[in-house]
Assembly symmetry: C2
Homo-oligomer: 215 residues x 2
């Protein structure tokens, strides 16, 4: 029965994918290891071999989405950090939307995180992690907004730290509404305009620049 290392890794990935499917349908708490195992085509023994318990499996599943997302955010902010900081932030937000729209797995996992998990006991650590990551996100945004301020691109009188928290709250709320909005009428269809409108509200007013499409 012993598989090769690559086979084992495939099994591990299948278990994670299976967990995401069942979590999304039944919620983390109501999902048994047996159900995950069946969905992955293995037995509970295999699942317990790869993951000590449900919390560790959840943790691994979450990281498959959050780590790439953090990388993407860092990349976008760093890339534009040299030139147009506000444009970089806009691109970063659009990038999150792209991920949501194009990757079903990303959608699914974020839906689990937001609506299908209770952060108590072993899962309380997940909340701590979430708080930490949110703090880091605010820090990165603040850095970008400080650059924007130095470049005179930030709205007059607006503190970069406040702008950072504004954008963080906006992002959190946008994602949450987007995930909830399966019909599309709430925010999904206007998400990109929304991002532009949000960033526009933080941008310094350029005197007498003609708004696009107003001619």
């Amino acid at each position: 029965m012993r598989r090769t290392k690559e086979d084992a890794e495939k099994t591990r990935q299948r278990v994670i994918a299976a967990a995401a499917e069942v979590f999304a349908r039944q919620g983390v708490g109501r999902t048994s290891m047996e159900q995950i195992a069946r969905r992955a085509g293995v037995t509970r023994g295999a699942v317990y071999w790869h993951f000590a318990n449900k919390a560790e499996l959840y943790f691994a599943m979450r990281e498959t989405v959050t780590l790439p997302m953090i990388d993407s955010v860092d990349l976008a902010l760093k890339r534009g950090g040299e030139a147009d900081a506000l444009g970089a932030i806009e691109d970063m937000l659009t990038g999150i939307l792209d991920a949501l729209e194009s990757h079903r797995a990303t959608r699914r996992v974020l839906q689990i995180i937001h609506y299908k998990c209770e952060y108590v006991d072993e899962f309380a650590a997940e909340l701590d992690m979430h708080r930490l990551r949110t703090g880091e996100f605010v820090t990165k945004l603040a850095r970008a907004y400080r650059k924007a301020k130095l470049a005179g691109a930030l709205r007059a009188g607006l503190q970069p730290e406040l702008a950072a928290r504004d954008t963080c709250a906006f992002t959190v709320g946008l994602i949450r509404m987007w995930l909830m909005d399966e019909g599309g009428v709430l925010v999904r269809r206007q998400a990109r305009s929304l991002i532009k409108a949000h960033v526009a509200g933080l941008r310094a007013v350029r005197p007498r620049a003609p708004p696009p499409g107003s001619g």
Copy 2:
């Protein structure tokens, strides 16, 4: 053993309060009716008498917070709707913060809603309700922003519907971050400035008005 109607109502309220306490500590899914009953000083029989199941109890508990909150929002938006629409929105947001800061029960229930409940099966209806309420919130905000636009108070070129969704996302994100931020460093201490900054970003720029504290 039969109590008077008022006694029964008191029992009902005690059960709801007990549920909130145990839900907040253990999560909705991991809380048994027995635990709620013990906390309320009754038996499971009493709990099942007042509520058919855990979902109905959860529903009742949630409404003790959401109904007053909706009323408060409506009141704030209506009151200021005649004069300063943007000021009314700012007041409305500040009112939400007031409720969070001053009412422990409100905090607790919102924490349960955001972090201690899985919206699947019987609880999926809660998500539908949430989506509905969010949609209504956007509608009310859009109405206010339309008035602001007519009064010339809205930023030039900004569609009221976009502003409404921006503020809705901001609100959702702010509440979620606020609930998470028990240390206070993330947003709690700056929440009021944040609200002002958010609304300021949607306000039309008044030509040559001296910014406060810039003299």
